[in-house]
Amino acid sequence: MNITIDINGKDVTASIEPRVTLLDFIRDVAGLKGTHAGCEHGVCGACTVLLDGEAVRSCLILAAQAEGNSITTIEAVDGTARQPGELSVIQDAFCEAHGLQCGYCTPGMVLAAKTLLQHTPAPSREQVREAISGNICRCTGYMQIIDAIMLAAERLQGLNQPADGA
């Protein structure tokens, strides 16, 4: 079947089998490899993307179901405002707080954090735990990830900007 999905503001059209998931569409058709394939049955959260701004698991959505929705992947986490390679505030906070080691879960964590901070700009640590409760990390032990999201929340509210204002 022919389907068209808006991914990061661009319409991607392809003829696919109905069994193709949104995850495989993003990685193999749109060629965006930042969305990671983990368990492929909805347990690990590595494949998290934003669907109309909300974090969802792309492995649990058929590509055909996503027609008509707009999808945001890690490649466009900060819209189009930044240069390629430049980190968003949330990504930068993950680096600074050591919120990643191998990085496999990180795109999902960052997008789960983005949804949280859109709804709750000043979350409690408990709310952060709830927001990432569907994302598994086998390296960090989660504490630095929570630190990173708390740091990103502060920065996004302008409470803890770097001294030079950059």
Partner: protein, 294 residues
């Protein structure tokens, strides 16, 4: 972790979806897909056709009548969780929804999908049984309905006819102004399947005498079930022995439950935990009523 092949159809009316079910006996309906897609990926389900009901008008609304709240089958769990009408009239459902999966699955998963999937540990079926919801479905052009308490007959098994499609769930609003609710569950980790869960919905009259006490448990047997309690409680009266009487009444009611045993928990563990969670759920509900009384 790739599905077997299937055809995909996106009907625009309920009758078209039912016709499709009738012409393809092994077709499956997909709503939010948060249970079905993993089953497809693990090839536990291999339907020849998947029928996507997301484009049928009118399945995604929450409506209020004088004494009911009617939730469309395609209403997303996240939408139900943030709905002020549900928070006001169905506080038990609002409490339970915070335990359903986690934010990314609630953004896609639906109220109706969870009901017809009928996982024994699922929270929404437990609430439907507690509150005596009415499940309305279309079959061959006719509207039929099932009472939640009779609908669930086994793990992932319900009385839904093979060619029927659930379209809305009707909950009665509380008839009293003094309502208390409680919901507790235990799982291996947050957002995992409940090993045991308990839901309580209690209504009292203006003097604090309990008129309607509804308690149900889930996750411990093949399907969620009500626990009839032989107990009289007056919230504004002498409450000193309530806890003891409640524990005894719950224990007696649990005698009729056939507890399951699996690799995650023994039957005796489930019974002990269910008893405690049930006590806490009733306790929460009574406390809410007591705070609310003048």
């Amino acid at each position: 972790m790739k599905s077997a092949s299937f055809d995909y159809i996106r009907p625009e009316t309920l009758d078209a979806a039912c016709a499709c079910l009738a012409s393809h006996p092994d077709a499956r309906i997909i709503a939010g897909g948060q249970s079905l897609v993993p089953m497809l990926a693990m090839r536990l389900a291999r339907p020849s056709m998947v029928i996507d009901i997301a484009h049928i008008d009118g399945l995604s609304t929450i409506q209020e009548t004088t004494d009911t709240v009617v939730i469309g089958a395609m209403v997303r769990q996240a939408a139900a969780l943030s709905d002020p009408m549900i928070a006001k009239h169905l506080p038990l459902l609002a409490k339970a929804l915070t335990h359903v999966g986690h934010p990314p699955t609630r953004a896609r998963g639906t109220v109706g999908g969870s009901l017809v999937h009928a996982d024994p540990s699922a929270e929404i079926p437990l609430v439907a049984v507690t509150l005596g919801a009415n499940l309305r479905m279309r079959e061959a052009g006719d509207d039929i309905a099932f009472h939640a308490e009779e609908f669930f007959i086994g793990p992932m098994l319900t009385l839904i006819p093979p060619t029927a499609c659930l379209f809305e769930i009707c909950f009665a609003k509380p008839s009293s102004a003094h309502v208390g609710t409680g919901f507790h569950e235990i799982a291996a980790r947050r957002s995992d399947y409940a090993l045991a869960a308990a839901a309580a919905h209690i209504e009292a009259d203006d003097t604090g005498a309990v008129q309607d006490l509804r308690l149900a448990i889930g996750g411990v047997s093949d399907f969620p079930q009500r626990l009839p309690l032989d107990i009289h409680i007056d919230v504004s009266g002498d409450m000193t022995d309530t806890d003891t009487r409640l524990t005894t009444a719950i224990d007696a009611a649990l005698d009729s439950v056939d507890f399951v045993e699996d690799m995650h928990a023994s039957a005796s563990y489930r019974r002990r935990v269910a008893a405690e969670l049930a006590r806490r759920a009733v306790d929460d509900a009574l406390r809410e009523i007591a705070q609310d009384l003048p």
